[in-house]
Symmetry: C2
Subunit: 420 residues, 2 copies
């Protein structure tokens, strides 16, 4: 019998304890041994919980207990779980965590501390989708060319409602909050930070890149309007919040932002709260992994899969690499990334304006792929929409500043990156 | 250094040898040890090969060689590879195979013989998609509710051309043969047998069902016409060749056949030669795994992933279960399956005929969900299209016989099963 202690009995912790009991038949048959949740840590012992295990408010009691074989960390936060996971590993106990923020900051330190003690984290990226296993094991023969993931269900739900039903951003955010998909302060989701934490984890497994959130472009969907969604369609694109990690000459680009992707691509078809990660390997081609990215039971499904792997005696290198890649791969700087762009400008409706705009873009070496002119809500203004050929982010940012400085261009210029 | 011997240097064998050499950097970094292909078995030593390893025409030389640590079986056929894989396992050598036919017949025997020696087979189902790993490891916390897979790229290519471009079956088959997607004798693909082999393997991992091809419904796409494809759309469905394994009251249904699935479902959006497997777990909900199901490099990607797992020292139970499920699960008989159906009949165009048809269906307890009447190419005939509510296969087959026996109904009645 293998005994599990759970640090943090919230939604996911309750699901882990419950599923271990309710699905004990199939879990034992697959693991080869009975797996039993024995104790959970809560902050407030008086609050009623929907679990039938012993409770304590002292995490060290769980970590130090001779009665606990595997420690599951589901607390949230960063520094406190970091301390406790280290304690558990030092006590030689295998750890399973769903804590993406912890791993976004401390995964390499934890890999070092863990040594040969298993530290598994399937649930930290894309909830119930076994993407970590796919990337660490299933695609190990490949140089990974790119990863493109819809890894935040809240944003995907909101964008889907905007795309399919034409609902405005503010309205759909309120709706997402009412449905419990978005927090009262939605910044962590809609600002792209949640997706960025997940992307950093995948970037380590795919490329061995040791980066932190502050090292990469992180943008959200706050600036996306229904008009952009509509115009994107006319160019043949859908707008999704993507986490992108991509091998290019000279390194690996990593970035999270609202992205225009061809409507015909598989990942463009992923709607609602669902997540999906598309991985292109140099040998396998494109694979995609789709499923629920959140929810107590879906996340617990991934946590328990890790527990089963530990019980079976499997380990594998925590971050996918047993040795470093000799050649190494460096993270491409934020302004060095190269991609195509969509630009939306409001300009004065008079002859010569289009020439002024396009020649400004030309000055920065940016060439236009396609252009649309649309009526504006203001009588003396028109909207200009461009998609550009590939250029460097630095040039694009400079060109946008130059465009804003033109008399004939209104202050607000919308830029959305395109991925093909 | 780990040395690999390959039984069968065909397209996949060449890819395995080549990728092990060309991607040696990333494979060694992930596995922790160098993995080197040392010898391959060919039937004809004189035929030129595109590999830089030693060749022999004697498989036992590879199996018995002290210089070979892992045996990869890529021969095709059933009895001969069965004999050789047993020999390799008896010699204590881990085996990786991509041979779905071998596993469709002998997987339980092989599990028995292998004991604790690893016998991996990720490449046997859906080529480069790591679906075996997902099912065996990533979803191990779940009772599997259903598996629905597009597992034959040839059929999916053909159906996509029929659906998207309205090309007729015979023409698209010729085209698939020219492109190398279909064999000169296409029966194994278009008859559903290839997909059935893969489904049987997944059925073992998901449910522990020990069935062979002759135990399950296996139908292909030979009877599907452009009209069916077109009419399916009017009812809101796409037609795909699906392998279905599904938990129902009293057991597990397993079957391969052309299937109407709602156009809005994720798996309906999988086009061309791509494969995809949708798995619904009782805790995780729906997940889907998408990618290339065939091709030398894609298949080799899965073969090498297995080799890396073996080198890392991971094993896990070959067929997903370390112990049997105490309750067990039985395979539902072919005629006991319950589903919805689409029926297409050609009938004489005169009053009372519709009543005769619907009352015949009623006699077998089959109730109609929706009905369409369409003009026929023959002047005195009309086409009747039905979708039915769920009923047992036995009743449906009997009802079809009774319909055919009616004077007013033409001999050929088309039946396509529906999955929602």
């Amino acid at each position: 019998m293998v005994k599990v202690g759970i640090l943090g009995i919230g939604t996911v912790g309750e699901s882990v304890a419950r599923i271990l009991l309710e699905n004990a038949d199939v879990i034992e048959a697959r693991a080869g041994r009975k797996i039993v949740p024995v104790i959970g840590v809560v902050r407030d012992l008086k609050k009623p919980r929907n679990v039938e295990i012993a409770l304590t408010d002292d995490p060290m009691e769980v970590i130090e207990s001779a009665d606990v074989d595997i420690v599951v960390e589901l607390m949230g936060g960063i520094e406190e779980p970091y301390r406790l996971v280290r304690e558990a590993l030092k006590a030689g106990k295998p750890v399973v965590t769903a804590n993406k923020a912890l791993l976004a900051y401390y995964r390499y330190e934890l890999q070092e501390i863990a040594g040969s003690t298993p530290l598994f984290y399937e649930a930290s990226v894309a909830g119930g989708i076994p993407i970590i296993g796919a990337l660490r094991n299933g695609l190990s023969a490949n140089h990974i060319e790119s990863i493109k993931g819809i890894m935040n269900g809240t944003c995907n739900y909101m964008l889907t409602r905007m795309i399919v039903d034409g609902v405005a951003y503010e309205e759909v955010l309120r709706e997402a909050q009412e449905l419990g998909y978005a927090e009262a302060d939605p910044t962590f989701d809609v600002g792209g930070f949640d997706a960025a934490h997940k992307l950093l984890i995948l970037g380590s497994i795919a490329y061995g890149i040791d980066a932190r959130p502050e090292d990469i472009i992180i943008e959200g969907i706050e600036e996306i309007s229904s008009t952009d969604v509509e115009f994107a369609k006319e160019f043949g694109y859908e707008i999704k919040l993507l986490g992108i990690a991509k091998k290019v000459d000279g390194g690996v680009e990593m970035r999270v932002h609202a992205t225009m992707i061809p409507s015909s691509s598989m990942i463009a078809k992923v709607d609602g709260v669902m997540n999906a990660v598309s991985v292109v390997g140099d040998r396998v081609g494109e694979t995609m992994f789709y499923g629920p990215g959140a929810g107590g039971d879906a996340t617990a499904s991934a946590v328990i899969a890790d527990i089963v792997e530990i019980v079976r005696g499997n380990s594998g290198p925590m971050l996918g690499y047993k040795k470093g890649l000799e050649s190494g791969l460096r993270l491409v700087g934020k302004e060095e990334i190269v991609t195509q762009y969509y630009l939306k400008l409001k300009v004065v409706d008079r002859p010569g304006v289009l020439a002024a705009v396009t020649s400004t873009l030309g000055e920065y070496g940016i060439s236009i792929e396609s252009m649309l002119q649309k009526p504006s809500t203001l009588a003396d203004r028109v909207r200009l929409l461009f998609t550009t050929h590939s250029c460097r982010e630095a040039e694009m940012l400079a060109a946008i500043e130059a465009l804003k400085a033109l008399d004939v261009v209104d202050e607000k210029v919308t830029m959305i990156r395109i991925e093909k």
